[in-house]
């Protein structure tokens, strides 16, 4: 039985508004949105409404949203698409060392193939990008800078506006991409990610469906598509569009924006309480990874001294607490964590690092029950 679901950063439940919006469309939207007949036009209309809504909420150019099969695909399209279309000889790609694998892997893939030169931007102990290092790295060959709006594991919010300013000064031709998959439920992307040219969103982090994402275009950036065919989605993502998924993303984003001010305060207070309860009962055995840098309200990344994260997660699971150890590979095993390495978290803390993330459905009772269960599990593992 689940006592506390503290893994909203991995996936959060579908919003009731999304179910209401998408449910009836399952029956009625049979036609292909590229068809020219009345039924097709109706489907296209629904799709374009969703596109326009996302564009407005994220500050895109009109219609400047490419719906994809998820955040990973949108990141891949941004990184690979920019590098292959930039026209720079030996283009340089600058990405932060704590990017999601969806950005790091395509960048490394391009570097391995000799299509780009990759430079990783270092971060400080709380995961904030080093702006001096960024400024020093920018140059005429810089094609792309990719820094996430907020980190998926730590929750640390990056100074995207300052990063954009540095690029405008030193490499105005370069494209700034930001993966806002984690930030979108919590931050106004028109301000928090102002200056970014390309923005990645993901449906299921917002309370939409899984398997849908979007790449938001703030200006006309040359992009080479990853998937070619019928030239749907501004010619950047071929294939018959998944209208229902696109609607789910748009509705989820609209609701997140409407609830935002209230939810940010509510969830931040719950996170504070969760941390205080853990700190009160476990004392110096728990260590908060991001105590002072700006961070998303739902993220509580912490380390438990003397406990192995893999064991902790299994024990928490048995106690009904859903948590995460950061990134896991496809097999489900925890892997060496590049984010914790990049922030130089000492090995003793890295060993017991877990991510607790709160969200829209988190309640006071869940935080209390979750804290109790976590304390009990930690004590059990520490004494055994």
């Amino acid at each position: 039985m689940v006592v506390a679901y503290l893994d909203h950063a991995a996936a959060t439940s579908v919003r009731p508004e999304v179910l209401e919006a998408v449910g009836p469309l399952l029956d009625t939207l049979a036609a292909n949105p590229t068809a020219t007949h009345a039924e097709g036009r109706a489907a296209r209309h629904v799709l374009d409404d969703a596109r326009e809504e996302v564009a407005e909420l994220c500050g895109a150019i009109p219609g400047g949203v490419v719906f994809t099969g998820g955040g990973t695909e949108a990141d891949n399209l941004a990184v690979t698409g920019v590098v292959r279309a930039c026209g720079i000889e030996a283009p340089q790609v600058l990405v932060s060392a704590i990017e999601h694998k969806a950005v790091l892997e395509p960048a490394q893939h391009l570097a391995r193939r000799g299509e780009a030169e990759l430079a990783l931007l270092g971060v400080n102990g709380e995961g904030l990008v080093d702006l001096h290092a960024l400024a020093a790295s920018l140059g005429p060959s810089t094609a792309l800078v990719s820094v996430m709006t907020a980190n998926n594991e730590l929750g640390t919010i990056q100074p995207i506006v300052q990063i954009a300013a540095a690029i405008a000064n030193r490499a105005p031709h370069a494209v700034l991409h930001t993966d806002a998959v984690q930030a979108a439920p919590w931050l106004d992307l028109c301000t928090a990610a102002r200056g970014a040219d390309l923005v990645t969103l993901s449906g299921h982090k917002l309370g939409g469906l899984k398997g849908v994402g979007a790449l938001v275009l703030r200006r006309r950036v040359p992009l080479e598509p990853l998937i070619v065919g019928g030239a749907q989605e501004l010619g950047l993502r071929s294939g018959t569009q998944d209208v229902l998924s696109a609607v789910s993303l748009a509705v989820a984003l609209r609701c997140a924006v409407a609830d935002r001010d209230h939810e940010v305060e509510r969830v931040r207070a719950l996170r504070r309480e969760l941390w205080q309860r853990l700190e009160h009962d476990l004392g110096a055995q728990v260590h908060q990874t991001v105590p002072s840098a700006p961070s998303l309200p739902g993220h509580l990344h912490l380390s438990v001294l003397g406990v192995d994260a893999e064991e902790l997660l299994v024990a928490l699971d048995r106690a009904g607490v859903c948590a995460s150890g950061g990134s896991s590979c496809a097999s489900g095993a925890l892997e060496a964590n590049h984010v914790l390495e990049a922030i130089a978290l000492p090995p003793s803390l890295r060993r017991g690092a877990v991510r607790l993330t709160l969200g829209r459905t988190t309640t006071q009772g869940e935080v209390e029950a979750g804290a109790r269960a976590i304390v009990e599990v930690v004590r059990q593992l520490s004494t055994a």
């Binding site: 064991e311 299994v314 024990a315 095993a333 055994a384």
Partner: protein
């Protein structure tokens, strides 16, 4: 329940669930490198997960790649560098499948560990002491690779398929509709691929030296071997015949001079097996020094009669001469009066 994704541990899990136990499946991710067989490939994790889903039990993956590298792969490489022939599967069982996993599951509040090995845990005269017994299927018996388990592990160990023949296990799997029912048995060392082989694996990690094959009796050089580190005592393969036309066997490997000494079969046999004194283990009773035991020197080798001698230079005196056993190989010791019962193990020095 340690679930490799293979048919034995799948059926073992099913039997435990059927018996009404509260079962949690766990798959160990051991080898981070490339692999084409054995227990660590991603598809095996998928198989284990699917079986756990079918059985309605929780399933977790433990990433023990670092511990596996430190406790199994590095010592394996180092032993080869020193000219020994280790058995990595035994070291994996000793350090990971049992020591580390038992530790971990105890902390997590589980009381028993189950695996899909073909062996049995039973009781004999002392009801408080668990004894390790040969599996029911003589062709699949795995008591050899478990012979180093101490009483502390045996006392919390369940081996649910040990009383079954392999054919029965497969039949049960098919009846239950488990996806692993027709999966082939895992064969070789999981971290060595069939394409690169042992030589390819080691060549990337240590320097391998070619050597000369010298016939001890005549002093003649009979040929060359590509890597003296890979030659095993008693080996015949790749050695060829002596000047008399008789087959030659490796009698001694001299790493310092890169020389492989060979002789006729009689010279590559011995009645004495010297054991490393620090390697002796017991499953729970004092080893019967000075008395006759049954020994087995490889996973599916024949049972041999021997007398176990203790002291500073422990050894086995075999009833009849046998092919030399390479240093680093494990010897399982069985009770002569009750030959199903494992007494303990040692390692050839």
């Amino acid at each position: 329940m340690a679930m490799s994704g293979g048919v034995d541990s799948s059926v073992a899990a099913a039997l435990l669930v059927e018996a009404g136990h509260d079962v949690t499946g766990v798959t160990l991710r051991l080898w981070g490198g490339s692999s084409d067989s054995g227990c660590c490939a991603a598809t095996d994790v998928d198989d284990a997960r699917r079986v756990a889903q079918q059985l309605g039990i929780a399933h977790h993956v433990f990433n023990l790649t670092e511990a596996f590298d430190a406790a199994v792969v590095q010592p394996y490489v180092e032993a080869h560098r020193q000219g020994r022939t280790p058995n990595p599967c035994i070291e994996c069982n000793r350090h990971l499948k049992f020591d580390l996993l038992v530790d971990r599951i105890r902390r997590l509040g589980f009381d028993r560990l189950a695996t899909g090995h073909h062996a049995k845990v039973g009781r004999r005269s002392n009801p408080d002491r668990a004894v390790l017994l040969r599996g029911a299927d003589p062709l699949k018996d795995q008591s050899y690779v478990l012979s180093m388990l101490p009483q502390a592990v045996l006392s919390c160990l369940e081996l649910p398929v040990g009383h079954l023949h392999k054919a029965e296990v497969r039949e049960l799997a098919a009846q239950l509709g488990l996806r692993s029912a027709h999966k082939p048995d895992s064969q070789d060392v999981c971290f060595i691929t069939s394409t690169a082989g042992r030589e390819g694996f080691l060549a990337e990690r240590i320097e391998l030296h070619p050597g000369s094959v010298v016939d001890t009796a005549t002093g003649l050089v009979l040929g060359q071997v590509p890597a003296v580190e890979l030659v095993t005592l008693g080996q015949r393969k790749g050695i060829g015949a002596g000047p008399d036309g008789e087959r030659r066997y490796v009698t001694h490997v001299e790493l310092s001079t890169k020389t492989v000494h060979v002789g006729p079969l009689a010279a590559a046999q011995s009645r004495i097996l010297e054991l490393d004194p620090t390697s002796l283990t017991t499953t729970g009773v004092p080893l019967p020094f000075g008395q006759a035991v049954i020994v087995q020197v490889s996973a599916h080798g024949a049972p041999l009669e021997a007398v176990l001698i203790g002291g500073d230079a422990p050894r086995l005196e075999l009833a009849a001469p046998e092919r030399l056993v390479a240093p680093g190989q494990t010897v399982a010791l069985y009770d002569r009066g009750d030959p199903e019962v494992v007494l303990g193990s040692g390692m050839v020095r």
